[in-house]
Every structure is written in structure tokens, then in C-alpha cells.
Symmetry: C2
Subunit: 224 residues, 2 copies
Amino acid sequence: MKTGANFLEKKDVSKATLERLPLYLRFLQEESGRGTEYISSSVMAQAIAVSSVLVRKDLETVSSEAGRPRLGFKTARLIADIEKFLGYDNLSDVVLVGAGGLGKAFLGYEGFKSNGLNVVAAFDCNPQVVGKEVAGKPILHLDEFDEFVKAKKIRIGIIAVPKRAAQEILDKMVGAGIKAVWNFAPAPLYAPKGVIVKTEDLAASLAILAGKLYRLDMDEKEKV
Amino acid sequence: MKTGANFLEKKDVSKATLERLPLYLRFLQEESGRGTEYISSSVMAQAIAVSSVLVRKDLETVSSEAGRPRLGFKTARLIADIEKFLGYDNLSDVVLVGAGGLGKAFLGYEGFKSNGLNVVAAFDCNPQVVGKEVAGKPILHLDEFDEFVKAKKIRIGIIAVPKRAAQEILDKMVGAGIKAVWNFAPAPLYAPKGVIVKTEDLAASLAILAGKLYRLDMDEKEKV
DNA sequence: CTGATATCGATAAAAAAATATCAAAATTGG
DNA sequence: CCAATTTTGATATTTTTTTATCGATATCAG
């Protein structure tokens, strides 16, 4: 049986590379702030704990300019290239559904902006929170969702509602024209083709970390 | 296949597999709740959108019992096996530093518990939050951190403080004996060998999603 | 000017991960 | 009981990702 879910591999950049690019970017921005004009692949490699060859290979696909022997890459240019590749240059509006603990945290989370993202509003049904503001962002009633999203032509949504409501919200999002969804409800969701869904299972992520620790312990005990 | 006792074998499980296991687990728990007794690899594959061969390969490393032709795997047994492998069977205590928006969200986040994790307390410096409780979990002053962690022999910590304080907190954690750290500050941290650090960059994760959408758009435009 | 050297980029090799294929096993339905 | 069918598990193959190697090149020091 073939159940390929990889409809997103148009460009020939690997998923792994895609996840390293923001790390490079963050480091480069820091260095640039310190006035570094040129930066070598080995320095970048050191910073994010990978090999320098891998850095060069990653950059190969996104850099518009070759690195210069003995100097490295031009920091500013590299930043611009990565930002362009990741689409940070055109600020994207994002909506959030679910203004519970996690939802509010997102509204207040700084750092989205520097990655080209702008959370514009949250939606909820709970009358206790509807009408309030968090970090200057309004919490609106879910009834207004469709109109709002369509009017603003928003393409990205975050789901931070309880599990049981998640699929319903996803459908609502798709209906309103949203094309990419970041899901924090611990449930696999089904979306039509052409809509990207990334489910982020925080509990599982932490559990994986704990599991590594656990197995590390086991190994040590074995040795003795 | 290697020799020796099945349950003490050193597992060489790939990172990719490790990330799929929680997905299998969640699905299996759901199915088990519906009374499913046996489950086939192809059903599981369908559920999390991978190939059935891959499912079998993943299970091979963790399942204590072979699947039965024509029936599949015993659901309950599989759940127990995965939970054991991931270390969910022995509840791990976790501490959190930083009781801002994100930190509070974690205190209230349900779902950790079902993954064998128990967030026992948060720590902060801000007198406005110290002494309060969120979801029944106390927020203590950072001064008490060391004693608390050592007394309870806690091994896992979550960092939810601003970037500039992150490295300092990590060092404090290491000093108190913590061995695994989940870092939400958008900064690469340096830890001594033997301490696992996983940095979770939320803004970057969302940006990656947005970037995929962006490139999808570009591709479509290219076609026209 | 000249040579030493750090750094890149290309190519090759290795390692890791995913997929394909198929015989063997065992349940199911007659 | 027996054949048909489904599903596993092993092996082989392909694809993807990472690492290793090395000649070319441009800067820097003297």
C-alpha cells in the first residue's frame, strides 16, 4: 500500500535542511548584530553542532552567492537569502483558535514577528474571554471567524483547542480558505489535499526526551 | 537480529522511529478504547499516513511479541510495549522554570500525565507570581530551586524564560542534577556531556510551516 | 611578489531510512 | 479437513542524508 503524505516536496530541499535553516538564520542574525561581515561554514557548524560540510551543503541550495575561499560567506547576504527562501520577507498573518492557556501564551509569544509571522487575532466560544485582549491582540467570538479570515485573506491557522473540538475547527479553517494549520491538539486531523497540517504533540515531544534519558540510564546499568 | 535476552538488548532505534512511536501509541489507545483487540500494520499505517512496511519495521524493535498472520498485533500488548519502551511506565517528575505565559500554559497543559510526565512545580523570580498556584501546581521562588530539585531527585527540566536568562538557568539545572532539558528559549544552549538538551523553537517551527505554504504558492504560480 | 594557509565546492563514499517483494504462517469459510 | 486469503517478517533494493576527501582559489604575511 502506498500512503504517501509528501505533497510538499516540490523544491529539492530536504526536510532536515529545512529545519536547520532557521537555526543558521538565528545565529547569523546574532553575529550580524555583532558586526561580523563574513562568516565561515565551520563557525556556523560549531554554533549549531553539525559538520561544516553539512552547512555548506545546506547553503548550496539557498545561497545566491558562492562563499569566498579564506573568508567565508557574506553574513548579510546569507541572512537575506535564507529569509527569502523561508518566505520571511513577506509578513504572514496568522489566526489562532482557542484562547485557553496555550492560546494566550501564543498571543503573547514574542519571536513570531522576527520570523515573518503576525498573529492577528484569537477566536474562542467562551464568553469569559471573548472581547478581551492579550498582548494587544483581540479575542473574538468564533462566530466571526469565517468573515474575519475571508476578509483578511488569512492562510495560516493555529489550533489550540481541546482534542474533541480540533477536527471541527480544522474543517472550519479549511472552509474559510486557510491553507496551513499548526495543530496543538493531541489528535491526528484529516484535511483535504492541498492543505498542510502539522500536528505538534507537546506531551509526546517531552516524553521522547524523557525516554532518551530513561534508555540512557538503562544502558549505564547494563554496563555495571 | 541480535542474540541475548530480549528485554535488555541495546536498542538501536532511529530518531525517526522514535518520533513515530508516540503517534502509534496514541492511535492504539484510541482503538483500544473502542474495544479493538487486534490491529494490523496496515490499519496503523493508514492512521498515521506511512507505509505498512514501515510500521512493521518500527514495531520490530519495540514489540515483545510477534504479530500474528491474518490478525495483526495484540493492541493491549503493543500499547504496553511502546509505553515501556518510551519509559511511560515509571512516572517522571518534571520542573519548570519561568512562569510567564508559556510557563503557565505548561502547568495547565493536560496530556503530560498520560505520557508518564508530571510537572510538579514552577520556579520564577517575579514576586507577582511567586507563591501563586496554577492548575494546582505551586510557583516557587528560584532561590528554592536547587534544594527542591535535589531533594526530589528530579531529572527533567523545562526552560520557559526569556532568551537572555536561558543559559544561566540551564547551568543552574545542571548543577542541581538535572539530566534532560527541554528549552523553549530561542537560543542554542551549551550543556556538559551527558546532559540532553532539546531546544524547541516555536517561532521557527511555525515559520517552517509558513515557508512550505509559501513555496507551494510559488510552484503553482510557476506552472501558470 | 611569493608562498603558506584557510576555506570553499565538487565528487565520492558511507550510513541511515524508506520502500518493494515474496515465502511462510495461520485464520477463515466452506 | 482443505483451499483461499490475509498479514507477517525477512531480505533485497532504492532513496535520502550525512560524512570524507581533495584540488582549486583567494587572502594574508612577510
